[in-house]
């Protein structure tokens, strides 16, 4: 005998309910260091209206945020700051790497620019583009909402198993070769030799 439910009652799981709440009230931390930040601001403005997805509350204190949007290149002097801000954000938290520079260093393959923030902090969504259109960022947020709904749990146990870095190894073999070559060349070539 099925128990009859009133029309305004529906059955779900606690995990699904918690994830539904979280995905519709993402509070972004705008880590905007370059021109991607302008597109990020445009996304929050009235024309693109990020408020439609519940993610319009930009907070400049990491303790009030649960979505880090890394918009722009991150240099080696900024990387400890980024990591510190990431660690200050309360769980559960997610990260969007916005633009070519944040994803891979972009055209800035130089001594000071980190070649992708995913080498050092976990990243959930990558947005390609230089800079990406606001629609692309909105698509990334919608995909992230989907991911939260699919994998989210009440107490965040889905994060516990992710003990491996999401990005490439910091010292991949190719980079080691480049470094060795550079060190060799600098020893051989001197001024006036």
């Amino acid at each position: 005998m099925a128990v009859g439910l009133p029309e305004n009652v529906f059955m779900t799981t606690v995990n699904a309910a918690a994830s539904w709440c979280r995905k519709n009230s993402l509070w972004p931390m705008p880590f905007a260091t370059a021109c991607c930040g302008i597109e990020l601001m445009a996304t929050a403005s009235s024309r693109y209206d990020l408020a439609r997805f519940g993610a319009e509350v930009m907070r400049f204190s990491p303790r009030q945020c649960d979505l880090m949007i890394v918009a722009g290149r991150v240099v080696m002097k900024m990387m400890p700051v980024l990591q510190r801000i990431w660690l200050q954000m309360p769980e559960p938290k997610w990260c969007i790497s916005m633009g070519a520079c944040a994803c891979s260093g972009g055209v800035f393959d130089t001594y000071a620019v980190v070649q992708g923030v995913d080498r050092f902090i976990p990243v959930d969504m990558y947005v390609p583009g230089c800079p990406p259109r606001p629609e692309q960022l909105i698509q990334a947020i919608m995909d992230l909402q989907n991911k939260i709904q699919q994998t989210g749990t009440l107490n965040g146990t889905e994060f516990d198993t992710r003990t491996q870095p999401t990005g490439p190894q910091p010292f991949d073999r190719e980079e080691m070769w480049r470094i060795e070559d550079a060190a060799l060349q600098s020893k051989v070539g001197g001024f006036g030799v």
Partner: protein, 216 residues
Amino acid sequence: MCQHRFGSFVFAAKPPFFVITPPCKSKQSGFAANQSGADTPHSKVANMTEIQHSAVLLLSEQFGLDASAWSRNRDNVRVRVDSERVFEVLKCLKTLGGFDMLVDITGVDELEYPNATDRFRVVYCLLNTSTGERLIVLTYVNDPQPTLPSAYPLWKGADWMEREVFDMFGITFTGHPDLRRILMPEEFTEYPLRKDYPLRGRGERHNFPVITRAES
């Protein structure tokens, strides 16, 4: 191929030597008149070549710089001085020559430059704010321990400029009040704009701890 193209460009851009022309000699009183400032109208002082010539006369009088020290690159008049005398030259140009503003200090690493005789070039860009006249002072320093006297006693604005040159090229400025890195992190050990430093660095950019999901 590329080096040849660039080299020929450098040669083509190399200016002819600056020559003191007779009109300057005839206006011998120009410099003194500028200094007194009483009988020289501003419109007359704004004649740029006159001011340039007065600087030429000033430095040739005070330091014996001949025509080979002077050169011209497009609109810029440049003078090359020894690194030992650069502070005295700058002081003379500021106090007597009227070049009262230090616009910039920057450096060039001339490693593997064609026909280069010294390693580092340091460039001081001066400006006469009453006439708009500019003068560029070049000096050269070498490995090991490239050292220059600080221009901080003359212009307080030289503080950060010299810190930047020190950060990028490793040229130390004696007498600087607070000579430490300004752009790169404190723990950085190399000088990145030196030509023997690789463009992609030596791995400093990836020398950070990795934060995983489970740890954060």
